[in-house]
Symmetry: C2
Subunit: 261 residues, 2 copies
């Protein structure tokens, strides 16, 4: 049975940030994570959004902290993210080193990154899915979150590679934001997902073709799904899509921003 | 030179609604329209959004009044729409009657509506573009709007059939929301449009195929363009896309909702 150990705490501008370690997973050292919450706990229980970071990044990347701040301040939600295997404060295996070296080699040689990223992310997702489930177990043990409350998932790029297989097997997640990934290893699992989905892709992505991006969106089994396409290259996803994702979670998980969203 | 004659006025919940007639177009009787504005004119000049209604509808259809109310109350903008030729309070010609009868016949027979709608809307757009330009001239003659201020355009379905050729030739329009139309008569004109565009399409549209919808989005020459796809049939465009369009105009035309949009 997994549980959380809090290791550090800081508070600024209405947001409480607590570092934690998830312990109790068989054969896995503690997994470092961070939980952002409203500074005032007067509100009682609130919905939780689990996030997953992009490839090569970590749990406290500005994209993670920025999205968390939006969700906490606009909706009063709790937001948690853990370092992916081989990322952030977690050790890299020899396999991680080989795959990262292979990715850098392909990039320098001007070869397509897709085949390497798809294969490596699929490997990381296999490790990460049980870690996310154990993290959710542990977070639901906190009185401010509790079991049975609304849970969302938000992950783009590698966060989608981890999130699609996670949400496919995790009935506690009731709404998800994904985007910007190849369909190869994910389409079959996306078909098992039936909760509302918002999906982002870039129309001029130099790595993921339009057909590949549209195929993954099309695969979701959800009755209610939205695709947001923006002009621009892979790394140019507009900042306003984060605001849109926050409104999506407000609509589907409830919360202060729900009424006007 | 065209000008506005106001014919009726009503005010409710912070929104002033004024019926008007555009007069002064050669060989065209007065064109009936409606202008929605903030009840309080203390704010001085404000941006204008021109709208165009859908096929078979009219200037005061609930979709028009609802979108106008959002723009006026959230952004403090002026919003105007005119009846399309053969629609609302305007006379139908024998040509209108024939085309409408042909559309109903095709619909009853289970034949595709697309070829008839594309052809008829193209005809209406040819008439409507000079009418929209004259309406904009007249509206910019009002002191609360003025010349040189920001102007947006918002039209879906037939509103897109009219709006794409209008915006293509009208440099005063600096941001536009379109959606849900076939590319056939419009793609070439869309290529001339370079202002920011938000475009809606329905993933399960029974009239417009995915490839047709995506082709029209792709055609826009705009550096900044966003596509919002939602699951559902032709008439199931979600209500939250109206909120999204309002945020789009707030971002691009300025106004009260711009800061958080």
């Amino acid at each position: 049975m997994s549980s959380l150990q809090f290791t550090a705490e800081a508070s600024a501008n209405g947001v409480l940030e607590r570092d934690f370690t998830v312990v109790g997973l068989p054969e896995t050292p503690g997994i470092p994570g961070v939980l952002w919450s409203p500074s005032s706990d007067a509100a009682g229980r609130a919905p939780l959004v689990l996030m997953a970071h992009g490839g090569g990044n970590h749990k406290k990347h500005p994209a993670m902290a920025g999205r968390a701040r939006l969700l906490v301040t606009a909706c009063g939600f709790h937001v948690a993210v853990i370092d992916a295997p081989g990322h952030g404060d977690r050790p890299r295996t020899a396999h991680d080193e080989r795959e990262v070296a292979e990715l850098f080699r392909a990039r320098a040689a001007g070869e397509p990154e897709g085949p390497i990223v798809v294969r490596y992310n699929d490997h990381l997702a296999e490790l990460a899915v049980p870690e996310y489930r154990a993290t959710l177990d542990a977070l639901q043990g906190l009185p401010q979150i509790g079991a049975g409350g609304p849970v969302g998932f938000w992950g783009i790029n590698m966060g989608t590679a981890i999130g699609v297989p996670f949400v496919a097997v995790e009935p506690r997640v009731t709404a998800a934001v994904f985007g910007q990934h190849w369909p190869d290893a994910l389409a079959e699992k996306a078909r098992q997902i039936t909760v509302p989905v918002e999906f982002d892709l870039q129309w001029d992505d130099e790595h993921i073709t339009r057909d590949q991006g549209l195929a993954l969106f099309d695969a979701f089994g959800s009755k209610e799904k939205s695709l947001h396409v923006n002009s621009g290259r892979h790394k140019e996803l507009p900042r306003f899509e984060a605001d849109s994702a926050v409104r999506f979670f407000a609509r589907h998980l409830g919360g202060a921003a729900g009424a006007s969203a």
